[in-house]
Symmetry: C2
Amino acid sequence: MKGKPSQRDIARAAGISQATVSIVLNGRADEYGIATATREKVREAMRQLGYVPDVAGRSLRGGRNGLIGVHTYERVFPVRADDYYHEFLAGIEEKAVEMGQDLVLFASTQREDGTRSIYGSGTNRLRLADGAIILGLERRDEELSRLAAEGFPFVFIGRRDVPGAQVPYVAADYATAIAGVVDELSSYGHARVGYLGGVLRRGPQEERREAFGQFAGRARLRGPEALLAPEAVTGGWLRELLDAGTTALVVESFELAGAVAVAAAEEGVRIPGDLSVACLDLPPVTGPTAGWSHVAVPRREMGARAVELLLGLLDGRIPADRHEVVTCAPLTPGTVGPPS
Amino acid sequence: MKGKPSQRDIARAAGISQATVSIVLNGRADEYGIATATREKVREAMRQLGYVPDVAGRSLRGGRNGLIGVHTYERVFPVRADDYYHEFLAGIEEKAVEMGQDLVLFASTQREDGTRSIYGSGTNRLRLADGAIILGLERRDEELSRLAAEGFPFVFIGRRDVPGAQVPYVAADYATAIAGVVDELSSYGHARVGYLGGVLRRGPQEERREAFGQFAGRARLRGPEALLAPEAVTGGWLRELLDAGTTALVVESFELAGAVAVAAAEEGVRIPGDLSVACLDLPPVTGPTAGWSHVAVPRREMGARAVELLLGLLDGRIPADRHEVVTCAPLTPGTVGPPS
DNA sequence: ATGAAAGCGCTAACAA
DNA sequence: TTGTTAGCGCTTTCAT
């Protein structure tokens, strides 16, 4: 018994047929009415030989292998301390533990230029797992629709409405969260509320900006919209903003919020005394923007929901076109107050 | 053709045998002298049907499945920002990418109480990968020796000399690094160098303390040794230390270094003016101890080496009792200088 | 209550 | 130059 012991080895050791071994191992012993003595013999031999089901054999046969794939379009463990994936993965891991599933991180799909692609490396390694959770900011609609067309079970984290394909996804309810922010600012009496967004227009950002425009319009709030890189957020820019009568600012990312903090310090602008600031992103625990008001995207919970959704798909309990929207926590207190 | 097309489907479409398809796909067409026309027919049918090789079938046949297991005794993605595993995993991922291997994170091995155990859940799920890398501060020698006895290929990260078993591991060369620290302090002219360690005595810490004792003795440095919890490091303690003539301090962990920073601020002790401090651990990028002199444990490189070592074991290129010691980077400049 | 056998997709040894 | 066949580990159907 040098390599991995197979069911055949167990069968031989227990003096029994391989089929019976399979039945006992899969907990269908009752269903098939296997004698208790036989079950014991099987379990004993199994323990003795250190048997573990072979993933390949099982998934080849069409069964499940307890592997949940996790595909990211970038490195999971980044070089710099960029924790974009971290919270999602924490949620995924947590739920995987609960459900007794293991996680497969697809590192083999990375190409020369550092990007990752599902089909780029020729073979779709994702199929090794029962299903997969896909995360990433990149738009790769063709890959997703191809995956869907092949009938491979997967869940995307982040909103993805791929035309002509049913892509199950878990998304944060930005719209409601942003409506809440607008409401709160409005009820404080702010009339001119600015929006500061990044120049890099990726899916989620676009969604936030649009939601803000919509709800601000509905609440009759008028304010400037600026799409800037962090280094373009200067003291002068901030002064101009205030001079124009803006009393509150909604900031898309905490990168930008950091720039605002610096600019405010330069100009002696007090926050929230002179300017209320609400951030639409999670703050770093430390730094100048620590404690600022923000809308918490529930990344952890989204990760966990993705696992649940995927397992639902696998069990056929959930239809393949289902998506879930996870509610964001309300705006935290800190840097939002009445205008001066 | 709803499901994924197999080689059989291609063979039928191209009117040839399945074996020929396999040969063409694996690039052995030259070797077997397949006619150019046949190759074209295969490629054409492949493109047309959108063929993707099935990993399960392939690994079933070949024995290897391109999966490297990663077992940790704690969560990989921690709730608080404790990045103990992060750097190791960054190295592992990097090398896995290079080697075209995927990673399996074993979440299913976690039990009710939150601890993880290889055999705790009844069967050894690790076997589902080709081999595994095991990390964690806990001592679970029985598990490791059982794993070794079963002939399962694995590599431990961290020094582990398990009695009666050959455990391949990748460790940091603390001894040499600490000798370097002692040398440097000695050459600056320090005569009394203290050692501050934690009360929690785990493997690596013990090793550091012993190495320091050994090299300090050899260099005829005399200094107090204290094993304290961070909250026991007070201003009074620090003052006493200085009054006794100590001019330099080697600190085991950055938790303790943080406590020293606070105590020094309290007492108006300048670092390194009044006291040189060398830390034997990686610093957090931010905080009062940022920029302090430290010995960098090459976690990233250790992770990468572990992957190489494991793949070497799998290929039989490396014997199963091999271990590797990775050199630490030398003490960084910052808080070490001549005594006042 | 248990065994025998087929077949999932793939590769390699052997046949033609 | 190409085809035939066996078998990797597993589950399931059918037969005993």
